[in-house]
Structures are given as C-alpha cells and as structure tokens.
Amino acid sequence: MKTYSIKQNKNAIVQGFRDGIPIGLGYFAVAFSLGIAAKNAGLTPFQAFLTSALCHASAGEYAGFTVIAAAASFLEMTTITLIANARYLLMSCAMSQRIDPQMPFFHRLIMSFFITDELFGIAIARPGYLNPWYSYGAILFASPCWAVGTALGAIAGNLLSLRLVSAFSVALYGMFLAIFIPPARKNKVILGIVVLCFVCSGLASVLPVISAWSEGTRTIILTLVISAGAALLFPRKTDEEVPAHE
C-alpha cells in the first residue's frame, strides 16, 4: 500500500473534502440547535464555539450542557461525558484494527480527535488501511461547520421567533433518531431495547424520588443498567462488525 505518495494523499484529501460537504451541511443544522441548548445552559457564543471545536460530539455536548445548566459537579460532568461518548471508545477500537502499522503515530492522535458517528462511518466504509488524509479532507469542511453552527445557534437563537427556535430545537433529537432507528429496524433486540428505554426514561421523569435526580444522573443510571442487562441477556457474537452509522 503506497498510502504516503504525495499525489495519492492529495487525491485522498479532495475525495474526503467532497464526502465531507453533505456531512458538514447536516452538522450545521444540528449544531445550530445545539447552540440554542448551549445558550439556554448559560454559555456565551464563544464558549459554545469552543466546546464544539474541542469536543465534536452532539450527544456528548448536549449532555454536558444539561450538566452546566444544572450547575452540577465536575464529577458528574466527567461521568456523563464518559457515558454519552462511550460509543466513540468502540469506534476507536474498530479504527485501531485498520491502521497501517507504518503510519506515523501522530496521525492516530489527530484521527482520534475527530472521531464522530459520520466521520467514522465514511472512513471505515473505505477498503484497506484507513487513509488519514481522506479523513482530514472531510474534517476540513465538516469541522468548521460544526463549530460555527454552534456559535451561530447561541448568537441567533434569541433573534429568531419562538416558533423557529422551537422548530430548530428538535433537530438534535431528529439526528439522534436517525442514528438509532435504522439499526433498530434491522435488529429486533435493539428495537426492543429502544422501546424499553423510552418507557423507562418516560417513567423516570415522572416517578417520585427518581424524577428529582438530574437529567444527567438519570441518563447515566439508565444507560448502565439497560446496557449491562442487554449485554448479559443478548451477548454479541465476537466477530460481528461494529455498525457504521450513516
């Protein structure tokens, strides 16, 4: 594999950039809604921008904003970030199996920094060793969309009519649905788990005592209990592929 000839790297960047455009446009809309959540949690537009530029995680950032809004402890922030981003651990594991042994180490660090559902998906879908330059091409377009979109959401969230804000604020949940509904359609176990999660989460928000816990705490506890239960009752076959999100 001649992954490192300059001409091939250039082609890979161009290819990646092109594949990054639809991803970036999607990011922009979702990031805008995330920016509204950031503003509601008490962050400035710059802080919202900084969070997105450093974290690149829709669910993780959103979960973090709920922690900030509740002025909860740093420990809770650490735990919720860990839980909400746990899937990246899995993606990182999958990617680590596809790295050219000759690739310089610093590429691993940069690629890790930009693991998201979508960037992971398009990178892992290509055959052979992962080409870091392909990923960088996609990042070049998608990452600024994400960070700038979040900042604009935090700035313009209050310039828009209430109805528009209301409409934009569900973009994030729409994106979550687009991540977990397609696998639920294909896999009955996941479908059952999603239904169970909705029921448990709904109950947890109205039941006495439990509903008094913060949203973050409820998410952590429900995630740990339901995932562990599912892992015990429905263990995965060891050689099954990690699903690539769209």
Partner: protein, 100 residues
C-alpha cells in the same frame, strides 16, 4: 462564568481520552464478550434515553414535540439520513405551531 471553562475543559479532555486511548493502546481485538456487548449497546441506550421524553418538552407545545418524535421515527425508519430526519422533525414543529 469562569466555571464554564472548567466544564468545557473536562468535556474536551474526557472526549479526547475516550477516542484516543483505544487508537493508541489497543492493537488487538477486545476479548471479553460482556464488555464488547455492553459497548455495543451503550450508544443506542444513551441516545434513546436522551431523546424521550426530552423531545416532547423541547418544543413550545408537547403536541408538536410528540409529532416531531413520530415523524422522526418514521423518516429514519424509511431510510432518511441524518440531515433529512432532522429537517423533517423541524418542519413538522414549525408547521404545527403555526396553528397551536
């Protein structure tokens, strides 16, 4: 205000460590079936739990929140990608709240 920067740094640090540790340390497949399965289910559970009932409370009226949830599930079920699903959810809220 300054406390927000500490929150952000924690988020950034944890997010990076989670992504970088396996890439830099794991050169072999994880063996434990339980941990593999657990990690496999975590994303679906976390996202489901965070979506409901939050989506219902995110909008001005719970009715449009429920409508967004139903439309989002249908759109994703029938193959709409991330962007289209998000747009579908936003549109239904925007249209419904015209009347509500």
């Amino acid at each position: 205000m300054n406390k927000n920067y500490i929150y952000i740094l924690i988020m950034a640090g944890v997010s990076f460590l989670i992504r970088a540790l396996p890439m830099t340390l794991f050169r072999k497949q994880i063996k434990s079936k339980f941990i593999q399965s657990f990690l496999y289910y975590v994303p679906y559970v976390t996202l489901s739990v965070m979506t409901f009932p939050a989506i219902v409370n995110a909008t001005q009226s719970p009715v449009s929140g429920v409508a967004a949830l139903v439309v989002g599930i249908l759109a994703a079920w029938f193959g709409a990608d991330l962007f289209k699903t998000a747009v579908a959810c936003c549109s239904v809220v925007f249209l419904l709240e015209w009347f509500l």
